[in-house]
Amino acid sequence: MTTSRLYPLLWILMISVLTLSCQDEITTTYTHRTMMPVYLEMSDIRARTITVEPPQELDSPGKIYIYGNYLLINEPTKGIHILDNSNPSNPVNKNFIPIEGNVDLAVNSNILYADNYVDLLAFDISNLNNIKLVKRVEDVFTHMYRHDTGQIITFKDTVITSENAYWGCANCEFFTMDASRSFAANYSAAAQSYGTGGSMARFTLANEHLYAVDESTMRVFDVKNAAEPKFVKPIDLGWGIETIFPFQNKLFIGSNRGMHIYDASTPSSPTRMAVYEHIVACDPVVVNEDFAFVTLRSGNFCVNNINQLQVINIEDPYKPYMMKSYPMLNPHGLGLAGDNLFVAEGKHGLKSFKVTDVLKIDQNQMEFLESMKAVDLIPGPKSLIVIGPDGVCQFDYSTPSKLIRLSCIDVKNPVVIK
């Protein structure tokens, strides 16, 4: 082949290639998590019999409640696992009570209280082999109703993939925006906040009354007769309520704007004593006689970029004031056992402090277990229960300065912390 013959060939090739389309292709897929509305008739739900099931693997545990030798672990919207924790080194999964729409629980004299969408249920758990539903208080958590026809709306956590930049399904968008008041918000809050026994509780028992807080309301139930809970009244709290912590005739309610102190000496009608306000942050609370310990952390809803442990003086509960704040890494739940304060630092680990001198907490750090990622903890009578990405772990804290790991319950879908 000579050069002269080669050129025309090249030109032919060039022209043919040029005429080919060299258009770029760009395809975009949007995958997002949304809340799909699900409409339910309460009459249908009430008609279903709740039958206790054999033990089930923990999927994504929510609240943990310690009752005697038992651990009751809520699986948000699904039901309650009961574990025998006689030996904290080896907790044994006993059974599962399927309760639709359940996010919280509390136990009082062998009676387990649990929410079932808009109703409050009471189970007799004195004999674990024969758990009985003894009472249903209807239509108490009414914020879930969309209209008064007995139909409620719940939201199913769903993932949608589409090629359109339209963020949502036909029905979803409106409801997604509205979901903050609904069960969904309650659910996600519940799913994140754990432990009725812990500092992030939403159901709490005090002075023969059951207090249930949702986003904006506290509902009071008289449980003098444990098996016969009676709805007393709702109390409006304002927005962004997250946790409730009872202490000596007072209720300490953590909201994302601050801490409310309620006088519960008349248990059926708690009255507001004070609101200690701070900047918006997510904050669980624990309390002793003189001080409240509050953690503020920067999360996505709690926009302020502040990670702190605050000590608030509550000697005069009408005039709480901040005594000192300590910088933290990313504090979530916290627990107080005597003079020992345990702080779950999210992905950073678990810290313990002596708080005998509240002005020198930073100088009295006992341990910092960086490997124990934690979002909440409960100082129980037998063990310190720590919830984190590794599941539900228990520590021997008889020597508070030296935690000893006893066991970890495997969880199928552990919490994700960033």
Partner: protein, 207 residues
């Protein structure tokens, strides 16, 4: 891993084919431009794009007319740079010492190592390179002394690429959803798949 396999195969080829007086190592380094068309995502109009491209091919002559090896390049698309790494072949048609026709084929992947993703409290974005394939034809004009040659190449280049933009969960700590097509901890993910198709004109030298 892939790269080390490439080097190994070239080494083996080099050993097994070191015959005669023919030089075994072959290098072809070229610079040029990529021509393509892109549809504007807003107006829908088609716009022309012209981007810089370079390629360096290192190979071993396995027979008189065939060279195999690997190629490494640098392609600059509109907003991003890609390093294509590929296995390649070059075939020569024509008499020695004269202008020859070169056929070529490169197949491999494009690395987005030069593109830094972004990460913030709210989310994360990153690029993932994809498959690259490029058939080419060209001309080989040997120099006077026969060592270095001038080369001109026309190629079609197909480069796949994905861009991910994820936003984290709205609530600080949340459960992963079981049926999730989303990685844990993410609330949404936007995946943009790019397929760049270009006509490449390159010029360079080989030795």
């Amino acid at each position: 891993m892939k790269v080390s396999f490439l080097f190994l195969s070239i080494f083996v080829l080099t050993l097994s084919t070191g015959y005669g007086q023919e030089k075994v190592y072959y290098n072809q380094t070229e610079f040029g431009a990529m021509f393509g068309r892109v549809e504007s995502q807003w107006s829908g109009d088609t716009e022309e794009r012209i981007n810089f491209s370079m390629l360096t091919f290192h190979g071993a002559r396995i027979s008189k007319h065939h060279v195999v090896g690997f190629s490494l390049g640098f392609d600059h698309y509109e907003n991003l740079s890609i390093i294509p790494i590929a296995l390649g072949w070059r075939g020569f048609f024509g008499k020695d010492g004269r202008a020859q026709l070169i056929g070529g084929f490169d197949i491999g992947g494009g690395s987005t190592i030069l593109e830094k993703g972004e990460e913030s409290e709210w989310g994360k974005s990153w690029y993932e390179g994809g498959i690259m394939a490029s058939p080419s034809v060209g001309a080989f004009f040997p120099g006077k002394k026969g060592k270095t040659a001038l080369t001109v190449t026309i190629a079609y280049k197909r480069q796949e690429l994905a861009y991910y933009q994820g936003s984290y969960e709205q609530v600080g700590t949340q459960r992963p959803i079981i049926i999730s097509q989303l990685p844990p901890g993410y609330n949404s993910m936007t995946e943009t798949d790019y397929l760049f198709q270009s006509l490449v004109l390159r010029m360079g030298f080989s030795f």
